[in-house]
Each structure stands twice: as structure tokens, then as C-alpha cells.
Subunit: 312 residues, 2 copies
């Protein structure tokens, strides 16, 4: 069932000691460039470097509350894999992760450091799912899906819940890949916000969520070529309906504008945003007709950029 | 006169609305690597990207309190120039800065953005001082020295004052260039700390402060070739005696260890430290016999790294 207001409150108290309550940061010069007031919710400073620690902690510790002592498994291009591996280590259970072979080296290294078992596959959704099915059968593991899981969605929602405890934005913007963060954000805005709009940012080169949203019909993402490696996945069966009902608009941005926004965040705000995170600032910069003069919260989803291959 | 405890308290309340009270951040994996508990005082998130905003704000607004309406001038390789330009703009007065011609492009651009007047010179202390003297005479400006000024020292001290309001470290570590931050940190530790030791970090390639400290005799820095561009300057007439009296030890580190520490801070802690800031973590990593098991605060002095020339 779609997480209720109480589910979000319970998720937040369940995970609080395993995550950071990340800071909101402002940057005068970015505000000036955008003509808006932007608070960045710094999930790049979250445990394991991304908001994914919220959902993974909620899903794993909710399982543990019910007496679970088995293994968990997932497929992930990186941040969810890191988050799940980290929380499994805390919980004292084994994590098995399927990663596409083009995942960032730094993300693979981080998963290895948490002692998770990694299986690589080719970078298609089909290969990820079939490899995961095989791994789960072999080791008898329970799947913790990176986004299409209500406990994950409730966990990701706590980022926007924290924003709304500290700030009253007109608009919250989250990037959209599989839609876990976006659907959670939309639910938190509905339950805890005061008439706050929810926008999503997506690369033009991976615009399946926008096509799905605008046509109200699921459109899959097929091996998209975007620098925003966290946004390459398709929407899920559980995330898509929530997004359709509670998100105001999905806007897309070019690869160039993502790199420009990312550089601005690093150089001016000293916020190490990974490309997926910079998409949200990119849409603000590209659409002054929508965002000028507004109070905006941007969820900086993660900071796990590959320092050997920065895009400038 | 050497700033008193009251001078530091007054400085802090004078500048509070012009600076950030920057966060302390911890990183599990860096703690694990070092076998210590390290709180990073994130002055890279300070206004204008470095602790220098503290001293510049204190010096300029103290001048303004006494009715000053003239021009201010300084020489600086970058961070003090940015900080002074920014605060002069707030105060509504003109800033004139002399910058060595090998200053980072990003630092020059930031100074230009605050509409300060820049004069370039060759990168020696003599050239900086003679060029500044000329500029000051031409425009009738008052010098705000980057470190050899008690109001600057009192301002820089507020970073350690904030640390000690939130945390009880065994040791505070600051990098040392001209000694403004270090002497201020040592005063704050003495006035507000509970038996806290103060260590300084300096590049081996610019070890004039260590030579001066160990021999108790001023040794100048002569065009040193270190990646830590903020630490190339010599100690000052005002900073050196405070450092001699109140600092416990100065340790040096190799260029390689600075780059390694900087990368670790970026990759694991998502803290964008400029090389000068990474020197402090480098000495912790190089000296487990001193730092292991300790509660340490490291002042991350600034984050104005050149994103087009990262050292890895």
C-alpha cells in the first residue's frame, strides 16, 4: 500500500540513528544567477554519499524488526548498492549486489569496501533483472529493489520531510531515475508541505519519465547515454502511479546544462554534486519563466562523482 | 596589542551576520583510516570559500565603527583578496588588491566578480609589498594585511572559538602560511579550550614556519614551490610571537601526502578542500604515533581549488 503519513513518520524515526540529517545550504552567487532563493538539501553528505541510505536503512531495519536474519540482494548502478551494503553490514546480514559493468569505478570500490558480494552484468534492465534472479536463487536472498518498494519510497521521502521541517519552499525539485526519491518527495510534500509544488528533473538523453508522465503511459528507458548515471533507469510499477498523482511537472535538460550546473555547484557552492544531482539546478537555470523569484529546495541526491573523469 | 579574550568575543559578535557558522563534519572511513575521531571545521563552506572572510569582516567593520569611509588595500594570493573584496562591497567601500601573477584563475575571477581593483605582480614577497605600497599611495588606501594585523588574527580566531563551542577536542590542527589562522586558533584554544593542544601543518616544500618555530628565529619563505598555494607566505611580525608562545608543534608533509589527503577528503567526505587545507589531514595520516586515538579538530581552511587543474 502507498506509504501513509504515519509510515513516513515511522520510517524517519526508524532510520534516524543510521543516517545524517543533512544540512540545507545556500549560495549567494547561484541565487543571483538564478534570480531565486535556492536551498540545497545536501544528500551528497549523506552516509554512503547519497539519499539511497535512507531507503535502504528503512527497508532493511523494517525487515529486521520482523525477525529477518537472511540475505538481501539488489541490482544497482552504484548508490543503492553502496547504501544497501553499508546498512546490511550494520544489521549483520549478507548483501549481494548486481552492478552493470559500466558502473563508476569509485562506486564499485565503495561497495567492495562494505564487503558486499558483487556480480557484474551488461548495462540493460533485462540483464540486471535476470542476473539478480539467478543470484537470488543461488544464495536464497530477499530482493531490496532500488526504488520499486514501498519501504524504499518511504525512506527516500524523509529527505523532503526534513526539508519541510526547516524551510517552506514554493517548489521542491528532485531528479528522477527510477522514481524512488521523486515519489517519496511527492508524498512528503503532500503530507507535510503547505501547498508546495514538486518538480522533477531528467536528462533529455534519458527522458523516459517525462514521456511516461506526459502521456500517462509507461515508457521504458532503453540503455540511455547520459552522464547522469543515476538517472538511466525506468520508472517502476509502484513509483509511476504516485508520480502521476502527486508530481506537478517533469522538465528535461541537456547534457551540457547538467555539466554547467554541476560545475557551478562545485565552484561556487563547494557542493560536490554528482551529475544526476546537477540536473535539478540545470532545469532552474533553463526555465527562469517558472522559477524566478521562487523559494526552491533542490534535493542534491548524491556526491559520488568519479574524480578521475570529471566532465569539464 | 595581542587580542584578548574579550577582543575575540567582540570580533565574533561583530562578524556573525557576515559569515557562516560553518558545520563540523565527520567521515567514518577517514576516522577508520586514521584511527582517530576527526571533526572537520568546514571553512571551505565559509563565505567567499575560506576562513579569510572572518578576519576581513572583523578588520573592515571595526574600521567602519570608527567612522572610516576610505579605501582598503591588500596583497593576497587569492582567498584574502576574495574575502576583503566581498566585505568591502558590503561595507560600500573600494577594495584594491595586489595579486601574484601565478594566482589561481578561479581566485582571480572571484575577486573580479566582487568589483575589486586588481594589480598583478611577480610572485615574491618583495614585489607584493612594493606593488602594494605604490597602489596605496596612488589611491590613498588603508592596508588590511592578510595576516599581520591583530584584527585579522582576532577574526580568524573565531573559527576555533566556534569549534570549542560544539566539541572538546584533544588537538586542533590548522595549516600555517602567514600564521593568521594559526595564531588566532592558538589564542582561541588558550581562552576557550580545556587544555587543548594546537598543532600546525606545513608543506615540506614551504617549511619556513617550522624552521622559524624550531629555531625561535624568523626564517623567511622564498618563492616556495608547493601545491598548497595558500601556504607560500612567511610568518609575520605579529603572528610569529603568538605562535611561538601558544602553538605546541609544527609538522611538515610531502606534496604527495597533501594530494592523497585532499583526494580522500573529496572522495570519502565530500569535503572540497583546497591543497592548503589538506595538509592538516596529511600530518594526521603521517603521524599515527601522535594522533591515534585522539579527538581531533581540523580546520579546513578553504575550498577554492582550481577545477581545471586537479592534482590527480
Amino acid at each position: 500500500m502507498i506509504p501513509s503519513k504515519d509510515d513516513l513518520i515511522r520510517a524517519h524515526s526508524r532510520i534516524k540513528s543510521y543516517i545524517h540529517s543533512t544540512p540545507l545550504m545556500r549560495c549567494e552567487s547561484i541565487d543571483k544567477i538564478c534570480g531565486a532563493t535556492i536551498q540545497f538539501k545536501c544528500e551528497n553528505l549523506q552516509k554512503a554519499g547519497a539519499f539511497k541510505s535512507r531507503g535502504a536503512s528503512n527497508a532493511v531495519f523494517k525487515l529486521m524488526e520482523s525477525g529477518f536474519t537472511g540475505r538481501v540482494a539488489t541490482h544497482s548502478s552504484g548508490n543503492h548498492a553502496q547504501a544497501l551494503s553499508r546498512v546490511a553490514k550494520f544489521a549483520g546480514i549478507e548483501a549481494h549486489v548486481v552492478m552493470p559493468e559500466n558502473s563508476l569505478k569509485s562506486k564499485i570500490a565503495a561497495v567492495q569496501e562494505y564487503h558486499a558480494d558483487i556480480t557484474f552484468c551488461i548495462p540493460t534492465l533485462e540483464a540486471r533483472e535476470s542476473t539478480l534472479a539467478k543470484v537470488m536463487q543461488e544464495v536464497e536472498a530477499v530482493e531490496i529493489h532500488p526504488y520499486d518498494n514501498y519501504d524504499i519510497i518511504a525512506g527516500q521521502a524523509t529527505a523532503a520531510k526534513e526539508i519541510l521541517e526547516d524551510y517552506s519552499p514554493d517548489i521542491i525539485i528532485a531528479p528522477v531515475g527510477g522514481g524512488g526519491l521523486l515519489s517519496g518527495t511527492a508524498l512528503a510534500a503532500k503530507y507535510f508541505g503547505n501547498n508546495v509544488k514538486v518538480f522533477a528533473a531528467e536528462p533529455e538523453m534519458a527522458n523516459d519519465a517525462k514521456l511516461s508522465f506526459d502521456s500517462k503511459t509507461f515508457v521504458p528507458s532503453v540503455n540511455p547515454q547520459t552522464i547522469a548515471d543515476g538517472l538511466r533507469t525506468s520508472l517502476g510499477d509502484l513509483t509511476f502511479p504516485i508520480i502521476l498523482d502527486h508530481v506537478d511537472e517533469i522538465l528535461t535538460c541537456s547534457e551540457d546544462s547538467i555539466v554547467k550546473a554541476m560545475r557551478l555547484m562545485w565552484e561556487r557552492a563547494k557542493i560536490m554534486a554528482e551529475p544526476s544531482s546537477a540536473a535539478a539546478l540545470a532545469i532552474v537555470m533553463n526555465h527562469p519563466e517558472i522559477f524566478k523569484g521562487k523559494n526552491i529546495a533542490i534535493i542534491v541526491s548524491g556526491g559520488n562523482a568519479d574524480l578521475d573523469n570529471l566532465p569539464w
